[in-house]
């Protein structure tokens, strides 16, 4: 791992220097800046440095190592020491660096929409607070922050202004989970599961691979459980009301409306008996999701107790505060004199029945701290630009309570304020963010915490309590349609709407980009008389929404899934007007599901920008799977062995022979590899129209196939990077030697030699090559600052593709040659491999007999893609193992 030596002085120097270098046309930072001519110690141009930090996206922190090149944050890697990461990153974690450099971030405070100064804000706040001595009418609205420092500051605020109140609105808040904890234990405890110890997992709509604060940790644990050891592996049952990653990779996937899952849990059937028996036999565990009632959660806690599942319980990592509805009531009644909104975007994402935006108009002085001048900013008296988490000091807790220091990697690009500094302003003390955070952590080894990215022994004490028995009302049978809201896999609740990487990232199941959709099952669509691209009118009470239809095989019948986070009006030029706003239907009583919606075909058509238009393999052996019992019986997964003959002599590779193995058994289709590759390799976004034209640029795509078998439908994810074929068909058709092989077996693309005949892509059976049909890479100065200096930015007319992260190989080679040794196994980690939460990607040297990649190549599950073409791919696959329960024959 890169060195993490770090001192504060060094940081300040680096940060200031980089701000000067970035030259983003903004005012110099308040601190004294140092010209780069006096090169800071240990900062070598061309040698990236990594700084540990953390960020919360879905209610719990994800530890990161932020890569900085000459002071510019360019890439995010996971922090192996952080439990919320274990070395992996989420798609939002990867995209955060683009958010930092987004040229459309808010750059200056505004009052009533007009540019204003921070001094004017301080004066106005002082005046207001002067008349509100005890803080009557002072309200603070926080988002889902997990910052202990913010919690401490809010406590201070309570002491200073006893009448002030703090409320919280997090649109992704797991209300049912916490209420379930309260029912079962008397306080809002949340289950922390040791998934890797579970021999069987029953997932009740919990979406633990995408929406859970511990998603990266759980994904890693899940993948460990899927390893076949001694003919055994874990088994996953998923009941889902909306397509989830877990559902896609489940051994048994049952799709049904949320209330049916709940009544199934209460009523039980033969299937439930078999599943529970399996869970009992194999130390199983049950996970419950937000579409279930708190009572159902309590019931699950009890069942887990009976199963002896490895579950412990932790208090919520998020700051405790009052809920939103009473605040809105006070606002409307004129009882709120000063409202401080610390990030979040409630005017856009608050429950529709609360009509937050209207209530906000009744507040005489509202101050919104936000990264963007968004919907809430536009309706507040004051908008204050927030610093990005890569620009400020803060801290954050992971789901298990582990704290991490959020340290800035760059001085604020604009005139931003961190939430801590904002609260400090209200406390009329105007302290610097660093001092505030430092004060919270007075008693720890500060440099060590910064270096490792975690505060030692800060995890919440897990509670071992026996759950109480809770009555679960027998759900009345329901008729009609229901709706299920889910956070968008990419933009979540819309806060990443202006992030083009995330917008262009194909959603795992639908492969839609730049859009959300009303997801329906084919049977539901038939009933409604709608097809893909038709418009659907969705009404719930008086609320109405028009949404385009997309069909997902395996989706639950009788329900429609709507992703939140779209239909933004103040997101920025990237996010504005993309998709429809599902928040318009979401009320405080139906946060995640609603029943009694009416669906009707509406006039009009929509065109989706999808990256995969064919869902079936057409009998081709591309993404393979094998059933566990067959694997155990035969000792191998695949019958045929493709003979490898050639008229030509084998080309010798004497030094290194790089190769990759992608395990479909581990892959959960989360897209982290795709976006990590995009960040690492300066891959441009092309925009919605170009995706429709079929010109997306991702170097590693995740294919998704549906396969029908007598044992049910199987969904398969298959990440496809360049195969680096030894007999590469792309090379010998290139007239100018732009596609050539190197001495270590890399299939290179020499950009400055490429004239753009595109013959290589035509002749690539895997279709992994990407072409710059137009000038895709942006000339924006801000976005240029994000670029990886070790990777060429490609211009129009040039072919590009996966390079096995050749720049990382070179970096390792330089280190190894300095020490006069060979590159060790595991020293080169490709960007996709690093980001993968399940360790599905293994990379290394085939000439090293002990390398991990050689081990993976020896796996009985290993196979080459399209081996019959004799391309001899260096990238190969391990097939997926399906562990069906023999007692469940449907």
């Amino acid at each position: 791992m890169p060195s993490l030596k770090f001192t504060r002085r060094e940081f300040l120097k680096l940060g200031a220097a980089s701000a000067a270098l970035a030259g983003a046309g903004c005012a110099p930072p308040a601190e004294r800046i140092v010209p780069y001519a006096n090169q800071p110690e240990n900062a070598l141009p061309g040698v990236p440095r990594f700084y540990a930090s953390a960020a919360s996206f879905v209610g719990g922190a994800e530890g990161m190592l932020i890569e900085a090149n000459t002071g510019r944050p360019t890439k995010v890697e996971g922090n192996p020491a952080h439990p919320g990461s274990l070395g992996a990153t989420s798609v939002q974690g990867q995209a955060a660096v683009l958010q930092l450099w987004d040229p459309e971030r808010s750059k200056a405070p505004r009052r009533g929409g007009q540019p204003a100064t921070r001094d004017a804000l301080a004066r106005e706040l002082n005046d207001a607070l002067g008349s509100l001595r005890a803080g009557e009418g002072v309200r603070v609205l926080i988002d889902g922050s997990t910052s202990p420092t913010l919690a401490r500051q809010l406590e201070l605020l309570g002491k200073r202004f006893p009448a002030a109140r703090v409320h919280r609105w997090d649109p992704l808040e797991p209300v049912a989970r916490r209420e379930g904890g309260r029912l079962a234990f008397g306080r809002p405890l949340e289950p922390l599961v040791r998934l890797e110890e579970a021999g069987a997992i029953l997932d009740l709509d919990s979406r633990f691979l995408e929406d859970h604060p511990f998603r990266l940790n759980y994904a890693r644990q899940y993948a460990r459980g899927r390893e076949v050891r001694g003919g055994r592996m874990s088994r996953l049952y998923v009941f889902e009301s909306a397509p989830s990653l877990a559902g896609a990779v489940a051994d048994h996937r049952y799709a049904m409306p949320a209330h049916d899952i709940e009544s199934w849990l209460v009523e039980g059937d033969r299937r439930q008996k078999a599943i529970l028996e399996d869970l009992k036999k194999n130390r199983g565990v049950i996970l419950a999701g937000e579409s279930l009632s708190p009572q159902a959660h309590a019931r699950v806690h009890r069942l887990n107790g009976e199963l002896g599942a490895s579950v412990s319980y932790v208090p919520p990592a998020q700051i405790d505060a009052l809920p939103l509805p009473p605040l809105v009531e006070d606002m409307r009644a004129g009882r709120v004199k000063l409202l401080l909104i610390l990030e979040g975007n409630p005017a856009y994402d608050a429950p529709a029945d609360l009509a937050f935006a209207e209530a906000l108009a009744a507040v005489p002085l509202s101050v919104h701290l936000s990264l963007y001048f968004d919907e809430t900013s536009a309706r507040s008296t004051w908008h204050v630009p927030a610093t990005h988490f890569m620009e400020h000091w803060s801290d954050a807790r992971a789901f298990d309570g582990t704290a991490a220091i959020v340290q800035p990697v760059i001085a604020p690009l604009y005139d931003g304020v961190s939430p801590h500094e904002m609260v400090s302003l209200v406390l009329q003390e105007s302290r610097r963010g660093y001092d505030i955070v430092r004060e919270t952590w007075r008693d720890i080894d500060w440099p060590a915490a910064l270096r490792s990215g975690v505060v030692p022994e800060s995890a919440s004490r897990t509670v071992k309590v026996a759950p109480r028995s809770v009555d679960m009302p027998r759900a009345a049978p329901r008729e009609g349609w229901s709706v299920r809201f889910v956070p968008d896999q990419s933009v979540l609740d819309g806060r990443f709407a202006n992030n083009a990487w995330l917008q262009e990232l194909p959603r795992s199941e639908s492969k839609i980009t730049w859009d959300n959709a009303a997801l329906l099952s084919p049977a539901s669509a038939k009933t409604l008389g709608v097809a893909v691209d038709d418009m659907l009118e969705i009404s719930l009470g008086e609320r109405r929404l028009l949404a385009p239809v997309w069909l997902v095989p395996g989706h639950a019948d009788g329900t429609v899934t709507l992703a939140l986070g779209y239909g933004r009006t103040h997101a920025g030029s990237v996010g504005n007007g993309v998709g429809f706003n599902a928040f318009l239907l979401r009320t405080s009583t139906s946060l995640w599901k609603a029943h009694g919606v009416s669906l009707r075909k509406a006039p009009g058509h929509h065109g989706f920008a999808t990256t995969q238009n064919h869902a079936r393999m057409e009998g081709r052996d591309l993404a393979r799977h094998v059933r566990l019992e067959e694997l155990v019986k035969k000792g191998k997964a695949w019958d045929e062995e493709t003979p490898r003959h050639s008229l030509y002599k084998e080309w010798p590779y004497e030094g290194y022979r790089w190769a990759m193995v992608v395990s479909l058994n581990n892959c959960v289709g989360c897209n982290a590899c795709t976006i990590a590759c995009q960040a690492e390799n300066n891959i441009p976004v092309v925009g919605r129209e170009e995706v429709i034209a079929g010109r997306e640029m991702h170097w590693i795509r995740v294919d998704r196939y549906y396969q029908q078998h007598d044992y049910g439908e199987v969904t398969l994810f298959q990440p496809v990077p360049c195969m680096h074929c030894e007999n590469a068909p792309c090379e010998y058709v290139c007239p100018v030697e732009a596609a050539v092989h190197d001495s270590e077996g890399l299939n290179l693309q020499v950009y400055n030699r490429c004239v753009g005949t595109r013959f290589c892509s035509q002749n690539c059976p895997y279709k992994v090559r990407r072409f710059n049909f137009l000038q895709y890479s942006s000339h924006d100065e801000n976005l240029k600052a994000q670029k990886n200096p070790e990777v060429t930015v490609r211009r129009r007319g040039v072919m590009e593709k996966c390079t096995y992260c050749v720049q990382r190989i070179q970096r390792a080679r330089i280190e190894a040659e300095k020490a006069n040794r060979r590159i060790a196994d595991g020293e080169v980690i490709t960007a996709c491999q690093a980001a993968c939460p399940t360790g599905a990607i293994v990379f290394g040297d085939l000439n090293d007999p002990g390398s991990a990649v050689n081990r993976a190549k020896r796996s009985p599950l290993e196979y080459d893609l399209l081996a019959e073409l004799n391309t001899r791919p260096r990238t190969s696959y391990e097939g997926r193992v399906l562990n069906r329960n023999p007692d469940l024959h449907e």
Partner: protein, 446 residues
């Protein structure tokens, strides 16, 4: 005595010379020619505007994408180079076979070849992502000491096309030289005398000059014969060398060559029929000429039909999953209608030529020639696009939908072709005068 002979009997050296050269030198500009010239000039302007926009913005203005990274540019290239086959075929192969009737049509057929091959040669350059670096495909001394990659069919292509263009140009120009001398000597204005004189290279018809001229002309014909066969064979290798079903096929070389002659002869008819009408050249380009061209068309049509059949047959006989899927998609997939259009135009429609009445009907032949060209163009699009849109990985399957710029550049290239041809008719003799004189002499000798 054939019709050609009968018709020629009416002519002597002088009258033949005057008749043909007067088309260039004395005949007043006909309004149809002028109108055609203006229309095609505008169309050519559109082509060059399209090319300008293409160079400024990039090939993303077309419908190409991944998986279908080749589109109209390649289809147009193959189509045009195919049309450019008939000229040299007529000139060279029929010369070697001593087919006298070729004399009336070889000159304009060669010009047609040159223009078509020239336009064809434009397309691979337009096709490039970075057209300004097209010269990297040819060997030239450079600092990096890099050479072209000789294993690439595209390099073979560059050599084949440039050789074909150069040899066709030499062949054609050689034939024009004595006629330029005629024009030089018959022109009345000083400008024309000087211009024609310059290009006539001082030709004076000396006996030894004629002897060497005839030798090299015959040898060029001999060289051009394998060249005609090789050019489209090499073009077909652009596809056949690939591993994609629909490209990877051993029948491609002969099938492409036959297809080339098919569309080439169709273009000969398309040009000859109006030309002989407007310039009153019925005595030189007789009904018999048209009939012979029609027979060649019919024969080529059958070879092409055989190609279609054998492709389908081998797919199923070889039992390759990907080939079979490709063939089924060709029949019934998104681009299926294109396939049936191709079959109608190239296989069904030409069967009318079994009837003598059809072969002798100028209108039937003219319409059929257009049908065949549509069919051959569609076939090129089908091969280039349909094969690619669904290859090995279903996840990467996609569609190619041509944009307005695809059509503009196709339409513009057709306009430019006719523009060049109209200019040719006006400035150079469309029928080889010296060879007609020779023919008249041979008639007299009998």
């Amino acid at each position: 005595m054939s019709e050609i002979d009968a018709r020629l009997q009416r002519w002597g050296y002088a009258s033949v010379t005057d008749k043909i050269s007067d088309v260039v030198l004395r005949r007043p500009t006909h309004w149809i020619w002028a109108g055609g010239f203006v229309v095609t000039a505008l169309g050519s302007a559109l082509l060059f505007a399209g090319i300008g926009y293409l160079f400024a913005v990039g090939i993303g203005i077309w419908g190409v994408n991944i998986p279908v990274a080749w589109g109209f540019a390649i289809a147009n290239f193959v189509w045009w180079i195919g049309i450019g086959h008939a000229g040299t075929f007529i000139s060279a192969i029929l010369l070697l076979l001593r087919q006298k009737w070729r004399t009336s049509i070889n000159r304009f057929a060669e010009a047609m070849t040159l223009f078509a091959a020239g336009i064809a040669g434009l397309f691979p350059i337009l096709h490039l992502g970075r057209p300004w670096f097209f010269y990297w495909l040819v060997p030239y001394p450079n600092v990096m000491e890099l050479w072209p990659q000789w294993r690439s069919a595209l390099v073979w292509d560059i050599f084949a096309i440039s050789t074909y263009l150069i040899v066709s140009l030499l062949f054609w120009y050689l034939g024009v030289v004595p006629d330029l001398a005629t024009l030089r000597d018959r022109a009345t204005s000083r400008v024309k005398q000087v211009l024609y004189g310059l290009f006539a290279l001082g030709w004076r018809g000396e006996a030894r000059h004629w002897a060497r001229f005839e030798t090299v002309y015959l040898l060029l014909a001999g060289l051009a014969t394998p060249l005609v066969v090789s050019v489209h064979s090499v073009v077909s290798l652009d596809f056949a060398i690939g591993i994609v079903p629909g490209y990877h096929s051993t029948v491609f070389p002969p099938y492409f060559v036959a297809g080339a002659l098919f569309s080439g002869f169709a273009m000969v008819l398309t040009l000859a029929i109006p030309m002989r009408h407007f310039f009153r050249l019925e005595d030189f380009i007789t009904g018999r000429h048209l009939e012979l061209a029609a027979k060649v068309l019919l024969a080529c049509g059958w070879i092409v039909a055989y190609g279609y059949f054998i492709e389908t047959f081998t797919a199923f006989y070889g039992a390759d999953r990907f080939e079979i899927a490709m063939v089924k998609d060709r029949f019934f997939g998104f681009y299926g209608p294109l396939y049936w259009l191709v079959l109608f135009c190239n296989v069904v429609a030409p069967q009318i030529l079994w009837w003598r009445a059809a072969r002798r009907s100028v209108w039937t032949l003219f319409v059929l020639s257009l049908v065949v060209q549509l069919g051959m163009w569609s076939e090129r699009v089908m091969i280039v696009v349909q094969s690619m849109h669904r290859d090995f990985m279903p996840s990467a399957w996609g569609l190619f939908i041509p944009t307005v710029w695809d059509w503009i550049i196709l339409g513009g290239s057709i306009a430019f072709f006719f523009f060049l041809f109209l200019a040719f008719l006006r400035f150079l003799p469309a029928i080889s005068i010296y060879e007609m004189r020779k023919l008249v002499h041979e008639e007299e000798a009998q």
